[in-house]
C-alpha cells in the first residue's frame, strides 16, 4: 500500500457525477458541418494550409504547427472547405477566432494512416510526428504533448503519473474512458514510459470512481503499473497536487513537476497518444461530458469542431428554463457566449445551467479577513492578500505574494463567506501583468531600434565626410597618382590638351565694337568679364569633379 500525502486545503463541492455516468460513451452522429478553430492548444495557433473550395479527408492536416509551442489541426471528416474565417469559439471573451469551416460530404473518407513503429523510431522523430498529429493535453490545459514527452538531454524522469482524478464536479469523461478503454489508456502510457525513460507508472484516481479504479486495476495486471485510489478532494487532480499526493514530492514555486522528476499526463491524452501511434490517427475527436439541465446527460465521443448546439441536441436538448451553459466544470469553467462555438481539444464538459442547480451568485460583501481562503488554498498562498493587491492594482505586490503560483482552482471563492469573486481578481491581475510585460518588451525593442537608427545615421554621416575628405586629399596628390598610372596620365594629358584648345578658341574670339568706349561702359564690360571668368572657373571645377 502506497503512503499518500495530503495537500493543504481543498474543498468538497457536491460531485454531481451520477447524472452523466448512467450510459456508456455514445458516438456523435456525423454532422453536415464542422467549425475547426486553428487555436486549440496553448502557444502559437496553427497556420491554415487549406483554402475555401479545397477537398479534405478525415485526418488531413488543415493547420500546420507554427513555431515551437504549437501542434497541428486536422479535418474531422471528409468534405469541402467552405471558409477560413473568424467564427465564435469557446473562450471567456466571446471573441471570434480563425476557424476552418468544413461542409461534410457524408462519406467520412479518411486519409491513409499507418501505425508508427514507436520502438524502432528515433524519439525526436516520434515527437515531431506527435506534434504534427495534434497531440495536446486533454485535461484542459492543452499544452503540446510532444514537449512534455521530451525528457531533455540530461534530465531523468523516473515517475510518470496518469491523472485520472477528475476532481471537478459534474465532469465524467475521464471516468467513462477509464471504465471502457482501460487497456488502451495503459498501452498509451507504455509508449509514454518508453519516450521518457520512466521506471514507475502511477495512475491516480479519486475514490468516488470505483468502477474506473476496478477497470484500470484489472487492466494494469502484469504491466508494472500501480493504480492508486486517492481521497476525493477538490482540486486533487491539479498537477502539483496529484504529484504531492502520490509521491510526496513538492513542486517548487514557479517550477514544473519535471523539476522533481515527475511527469503528469491526463488519461485522455494517453488514450489519444495510443490512437495516434497504434492507428496512425491524428487527434480529431475527444470524449465530452454533457450534463446538467439536459434531457439525456451523458458522455459523447465528439469530433473536434462540433458546434455545442449540435452536441446539446445529441443529448436530447436542453430542458425548459435553462439559463445558459458552462464550458468546463463549475469551479474553473467559464460561461459560453454562443452555442455556435465548437468543441475543441480543451473542452471536456458542457454543463447546462438552470436557476436551481446554479443559483445566481449573491452580491459580494467586504472582506472580513477571516482567512478561510488561506486555509482552503491548495497552492498554500494567501488569497486575501492577493485580493487586496489585485484590487488596488498593486501588481508588484501580487507577484511578491506569488500570484503566478495560483492555479485558479476557485477554492478561495468557494469558501469565501463574503462571496467575493476572488479568482476573477487574480485573472485580471495576471493578464494585466502579462500585457504590461509585453508592452515593456515592445518599448525596449523600440528604444533599441531607435538608438541603433541614430547610431546608423551618425555613422553614415561620418562615412560620407570621410569619403569627401579622401577625395580632397586625392586631388592634392593628383600629379603623383598620374605618374604612377600611365593610363590615367594619358587620359589626363588628352583632357588638358582639350581644355587648352578650348581656351585658345575662346581667346581667338575677340569682342567687336569695343574701341573708344566711355569709362562707365568700359567698367560695366569689365564687371561682366570678371563674372564670366569666375563662372568659367566654377564650371571647370565642376567638370573635373564630375570626371573624377
Amino acid at each position: 500500500m502506497r503512503k499518500l500525502h495530503a495537500f493543504n486545503g481543498g474543498v468538497h463541492p457536491e460531485g454531481h457525477k451520477g447524472e452523466s455516468t448512467g450510459r456508456p460513451i455514445e458516438t456523435m452522429p456525423l454532422l453536415p458541418r464542422y467549425v475547426v478553430p486553428l487555436r486549440q492548444h496553448i502557444g502559437e495557433p496553427a497556420r491554415p494550409v487549406v483554402k475555401p473550395g479545397d477537398r479534405v479527408l478525415r485526418g488531413q492536416l488543415i493547420g500546420q504547427p507554427e513555431g515551437y509551442v504549437s501542434v497541428g489541426v486536422h479535418a474531422p471528416t471528409s468534405g469541402r472547405v467552405l471558409a477560413v474565417e473568424p467564427r465564435p469559439v469557446p473562450h471567456p471573451s466571446g471573441l471570434a477566432d480563425l476557424c476552418v469551416v468544413i461542409d461534410s460530404d457524408g462519406e467520412d473518407r479518411t486519409v491513409e494512416t499507418a501505425p508508427l513503429d514507436w520502438r524502432a523510431m528515433d524519439p525526436s522523430a516520434l515527437r515531431n510526428r506527435l506534434r504534427e498529429m495534434g497531440l495536446a493535453g486533454l485535461g484542459g490545459a492543452v499544452f503540446p504533448s510532444f514537449i512534455k514527452l521530451n525528457p531533455g538531454a540530461r534530465r531523468h524522469i523516473p515517475i510518470l503519473i496518469l491523472n485520472g482524478a477528475e476532481c471537478e464536479p459534474w465532469i465524467t469523461c475521464d471516468d467513462l474512458l477509464m471504465r471502457e478503454r482501460a487497456a488502451d489508456i495503459l498501452a498509451g502510457a507504455e509508449i509514454m514510459r518508453h519516450m521518457l525513460g520512466t521506471e514507475e507508472v502511477l495512475v491516480g484516481i479519486e475514490d468516488n470512481k470505483p468502477e474506473a479504479i476496478a477497470a484500470m486495476t484489472a487492466a494494469a495486471g502484469g504491466r508494472g503499473v500501480e493504480v492508486v485510489a486517492i481521497a476525493s478532494l477538490y482540486p486533487g487532480g491539479g498537477g502539483k497536487q496529484i504529484t504531492y499526493t502520490l509521491t510526496g514530492r513538492v513542486v517548487p514555486a514557479g517550477g514544473l513537476s519535471t523539476d522533481v522528476g515527475v511527469q503528469v499526463f491526463n488519461v485522455g491524452t494517453a488514450y489519444a497518444l495510443l490512437r495516434a501511434i497504434r492507428d496512425g490517427e491524428p487527434l480529431v475527436s475527444r470524449i465530452v461530458t454533457v450534463t446538467g439541465h439536459v434531457v439525456r446527460p451523458g458522455n459523447f465521443e465528439t469530433r473536434l469542431g462540433t458546434p455545442v448546439a449540435d452536441l446539446l441536441r445529441a443529448a436530447g436538448g436542453e430542458l425548459p428554463d435553462a439559463t445558459g451553459q458552462i464550458i468546463g466544470g463549475p469551479m474553473m469553467g467559464f460561461g459560453l457566449m454562443d452555442e455556435a462555438a465548437p468543441i475543441t481539444k480543451s473542452v471536456n464538459c458542457v454543463i447546462v445551467k438552470n436557476a436551481a442547480l446554479f443559483p445566481a451568485a449573491p452580491a459580494p460583501m467586504p472582506c472580513i479577513r477571516c482567512g478561510a481562503c488561506a486555509r482552503a488554498c491548495p497552492a498554500e498562498l494567501q488569497p486575501f492578500e492577493l485580493y487586496w493587491y489585485a484590487r488596488t492594482r498593486d501588481f508588484g505586490k501580487t507577484q511578491t505574494y506569488h500570484l503566478f503560483d495560483c492555479i485558479e482552482c476557485g477554492c478561495c471563492s468557494y469558501v469565501c463567506p463574503s462571496h467575493i469573486p476572488l479568482v476573477e481578481y487574480y485573472r485580471f491581475a495576471k493578464s494585466e501583468i502579462w500585457s504590461r510585460e509585453h508592452e515593456k518588451q515592445a518599448a525596449d525593442q523600440a528604444r533599441e531600434r531607435h538608438e541603433f537608427r541614430a547610431f546608423r545615421l551618425e555613422r553614415e554621416k561620418q562615412e560620407k565626410a570621410e569619403k569627401l575628405a579622401k577625395k580632397a586629399s586625392e586631388r592634392l596628390e593628383g600629379g603623383a597618382v598620374a605618374a604612377e598610372d600611365p593610363e590615367a596620365a594619358r587620359k589626363k594629358a588628352l583632357l588638358q590638351a582639350a581644355i587648352a584648345k578650348a581656351q585658345k578658341a575662346k581667346e581667338a574670339v575677340r569682342p567687336k565694337n569695343v574701341d573708344n568706349l566711355p569709362p562707365d561702359k568700359q567698367r560695366e564690360i569689365d564687371a561682366i568679364e570678371a563674372r564670366r571668368a569666375q563662372a568659367g572657373q566654377a564650371e571647370q571645377a565642376a567638370e573635373t569633379e564630375a570626371k573624377r
Binding site: H91, P92, F428, A442, A446
Partner: protein
C-alpha cells in the same frame, strides 16, 4: 580645556577622514533620473511632446524644462507613473494632446510609388523597401507614431487600430453589478 578641544578636533578629523574615504570607496552608482524617466515613456518616438524622441523628452523632464503631461501615447497612466517617480501631482494630458488607441501604420501597396520618404521618417526602421520598389511596414516593430503619414506624397499610408483578439484579450477588472433595493 585646550586638551579637550584638541581631542575633539582630532576625533572630528579622523571621523571626517573615514567618512570621506567611505564616500569615495563605497560610492553607489545610482541610476540616473533620465534613465528612469525614459523607462516609463512608451518609446513610440513620435515627437508629439515637441522633442525629437523619448530620450530627449526624458532629459528635458529631468532638467525641469518640460512638463510631465506632454506624452499622449503614455496617456494618463504614464503621467501618473511619472508623477509618482518625480514626487509631483499628476495632471491631465496637455492642451491639444490626446491619447489614441494603439495602432499600426499600413501601406497601401498598390499605391506606393517607392519614394523612400517614409523609410527615412520612420524612427524605428520599421519600414522596408528600396527606391522605386514597394515599401511595407513591419507591423511588429511599428510603434504607431504616425511620422510616416505626412511625408508620403501619394497618401498611401493609413493608421489601423489594433483590434482586440483572443491573443491580446485581457480579463477585465471585476465589476460588481448594482442591485436595485426597493
Amino acid at each position: 580645556m585646550l586638551s579637550a578641544i584638541l581631542v575633539m578636533a582630532g576625533i572630528a578629523l579622523v571621523l571626517g577622514g573615514v567618512l570621506g574615504w567611505a564616500a569615495i570607496r563605497f560610492r553607489v552608482q545610482e541610476d540616473p533620473l533620465v534613465e528612469k524617466i525614459d523607462a516609463i515613456l512608451p518609446q513610440t518616438q513620435c515627437g508629439q511632446c515637441g522633442y525629437p524622441g523619448c530620450k530627449p523628452y526624458a532629459e528635458a523632464i529631468s532638467k525641469g524644462d518640460a512638463d510631465i503631461n506632454r506624452c499622449p501615447p503614455g496617456g494618463e497612466e504614464g503621467v501618473k507613473r511619472l508623477a509618482e517617480l518625480l514626487g509631483v501631482e499628476p495632471k491631465p494630458l496637455g492642451e491639444g494632446l490626446e491619447h489614441k488607441p494603439k495602432s499600426v501604420a499600413v501601406i497601401d501597396e498598390a499605391l506606393c510609388i517607392g519614394c523612400t520618404l517614409c523609410i527615412q521618417a520612420c524612427p524605428v526602421d520599421a519600414i522596408v523597401g528600396a527606391a522605386k520598389q514597394m515599401h511595407t511596414v513591419v507591423a511588429d516593430e511599428c510603434t504607431g507614431c504616425e511620422l510616416c503619414i505626412q511625408p508620403c506624397p501619394v497618401d498611401c499610408i493609413r493608421m489601423e487600430v489594433i483590434h482586440e483578439d483572443i491573443a491580446n484579450w485581457k480579463w477585465r477588472y471585476p465589476v460588481i453589478p448594482l442591485k436595485k433595493v426597493a
